[in-house]
């Protein structure tokens, strides 16, 4: 068998292992899905009436805010899933079996790839639940099949990027506790962007950051695809570029951390 076939085969073996873990240790998955659903309900029912009026649209109110906030909640869900991934990876690295994998002739990236593919699948499942609940509480997208497909594609790309980053973050510290804290800043990014309120309502300095951080173009592209029927080309390019950049950085960082001498 060729090296590529081994890499794919070994990664699939690792993926099966991670999926079994997710099924047998579901509390992490449940937490990762419950968190964004709770935030969605909070923002729509508690803040939605007021915030919706502040959007400046024709309709305003709770239903307008449900439309506006859903892409933000989707990114929040991914940031929460990143934390779950970092915890799962950190826990795994403390297990003796990973030391065994290191002494076996298996494709070097397989352990990490298994984590990434498993976590992306888990994240997409979580996002589907969030979209389902959003539809129940007033999210009314106006998108054809092509737009939905593009939105799913962008969400997958984003989940892939954030997951590689969080796999690396899970390996930086030696303890599981520290690993669970490292991805925390990601949870703030939807708030410090266009996730919950338009960036032009912020002070100039914060608005500048909100405009130029990676989550904003992703959320704006999702809004364009699902609600407005048209996408700002600059946002779309920026969104894809951020995803590609973060994926590459996360991948290289994770590989480096996995290959480092554990005695150091």
């Amino acid at each position: 068998m060729s090296t590529l076939a081994h890499t794919v085969g070994d990664s699939a073996t690792m993926l099966r292992r991670n999926l079994k873990h997710a099924v047998r240790y579901p509390s992490l998955t449940v937490m990762v899905i419950a968190l964004p659903v709770i935030f969605l309900l909070l923002f729509v029912y508690v803040f939605g009436g007021t915030l919706g009026n502040g959007l400046g649209g024709v309709a305003g109110g709770r239903s307008a805010y449900a439309d506006y906030v859903t892409p933000g909640i989707l990114l929040l869900a991914m940031a929460g899933a990143a934390q779950g991934t970092a915890i799962a990876v950190a826990m795994d690295m403390t297990e003796g079996i990973v030391a065994r994998f290191r002494t076996m002739s298996i494709a070097r990236a397989a352990v990490l790839t298994g984590h990434v593919v498993g976590a992306v699948a888990q994240t997409l499942l979580g996002l589907a639940v969030v979209v389902g609940v959003a539809l129940l509480v007033g999210f009314r997208p106006d998108a054809g099949p092509a737009q939905w497909l593009a939105a799913v594609g962008l969400l997958t790309l984003t989940a892939f990027a954030i997951t590689w980053l969080s796999v690396a973050l899970g390996m930086v510290p030696k303890s599981v506790e520290s690993a669970s804290n490292l991805p925390m800043p990601l949870l703030l990014l939807p708030f410090l962007g266009s996730g919950f309120v338009p960036t032009d309502s912020m002070p100039a300095w914060l608005g500048w950051f909100a405009e130029h951080q990676p989550f904003t173009p992703i959320m704006e592209t999702l809004r364009g695809l699902l609600l407005a029927g048209q996408v700002d080309g600059g946002d779309a390019v920026a969104a894809v570029a951020w995803c590609a950049g973060i994926s590459l950085l996360g991948y290289l960082w994770a590989r480096r951390l996995y290959d480092r001498d554990p005695s150091r």
């Binding site: 073996t13 003796g96 079996i97 030391a99 002494t103 002739s105």
Partner: protein, 319 residues
């Protein structure tokens, strides 16, 4: 893939050094392990045994020295080394969330054995390690001994030519320990080479063709158990008395003997030969000294260790 450049040697180490920051763990170790033999690395806690196994099994890198395992340099060709070895470390390397059978299946998949062959290997190993009944239970519910057996079974998937066992019987009850020894003997009979570390001299004595004594990061002796025992002076006859008066009388007869008042014993140097023992007993009889019991003590590896390092094996070494 040639084996000609290391005729018969599965492990060849020279000048191996490793330090963690300023703490020197291995200070110039040379080793050679011939194929299809059992090699025991013996030493107290902190002597550098686990570090040696970790370097030989490609887990960590050496600071200096050359290490060839199964004919390949561990730094230049780690994957070739990994394909030839199986490692059972000191800490359980099983997946606690999977069942025993799933753990083994994971190994057959990673060794690319294929579906039919994989299933056969899993069933064989479950039966061999007495885990068939527990095969469908999650490993988290296994006892310590069962986990250890599963761990070793996972190491054997793919029939590695060289098997590292880092303190394979630490914490096992005597029966499990003997079962483990039996397995090691079977593996070698099948042609595998076994590199084991242990703190138990008895274990090295029972299993190993060659023993190396590691102390403070250096080899202090190497040879067969018999060769090592020859390094220390002969054994002794241990006499046990029922009262202190007889002990004192006997001690007067043998000035070279070591007297232990607390357990009423006298250790008389001697080689344990029949004529020697008979002469000893004749002298005691002639003096009218009553001996309760006697035992013959030939030097064991404990004596060797003590003689060569100046401290017993139980003592924790801090560098």
């Amino acid at each position: 893939m040639t084996t000609t450049n290391f005729p018969g040697a599965m492990v060849e180490v020279s000048g191996l050094r490793k330090a963690y920051r300023r703490q020197v763990v291995l200070d110039g170790v040379d080793l050679r392990v011939p194929e299809a033999t059992v090699f025991a690395l013996l030493g107290p806690n902190g002597a550098g045994k686990t570090t040696t196994v970790q370097i030989l099994s490609t887990l960590i890198r050496a600071d200096a020295g050359t290490v060839r395992v199964a004919g390949h340099d561990v730094t230049a060709e780690p994957d070739r080394v990994r394909a030839a070895i199986g490692v059972t470390g000191q800490f359980s390397a099983v997946d606690a969330l999977l069942t025993g059978a799933e753990n083994l299946r994971l190994m057959t998949d990673l060794r690319h054995l294929g579906r039919v062959e994989g299933r056969r290997v899993v069933d064989d190993l479950l039966a061999r390690f007495d885990l068939t009944e527990a095969a469908g239970k999650p490993v988290a519910a296994y006892s310590g001994g069962m986990k250890r057996r599963l761990d070793l079974a996972m190491t054997l998937v793919g029939r590695p030519r060289l098997i590292f066992l880092d303190e394979p019987t630490a914490g096992l009850d005597p029966r499990s320990r003997r079962a483990m020894w039996q397995i090691v003997r079977e593996l070698v009979a099948e042609g595998a080479t076994v590199f084991l570390t242990t703190q138990y001299l008895e274990e090295a004595d029972h299993l190993a063709d060659r023993v190396a004594l590691l102390d403070g990061g250096r080899l202090v002796a190497e040879g067969s158990p018999a060769e090592l025992k020859r390094l220390v002076p002969g054994g002794h006859v241990r006499l046990h008395f029922t009262d202190a008066a007889h002990l004192a009388a006997a001690a007067g007869l043998f000035p070279a003997a070591a007297r232990h008042d607390d357990d009423l014993t006298l250790r008389v140097p001697g080689d344990g030969s029949v004529s020697g023992v008979r002469a000893l007993l004749d002298r005691l009889d002639a003096a009218g000294v009553a001996v309760d019991s006697l035992s013959l003590h030939t030097p064991d590896l404990d004596d060797v260790f003590l003689a060569l390092t100046g401290h017993p094996t139980e003592e924790k070494v801090t560098a």
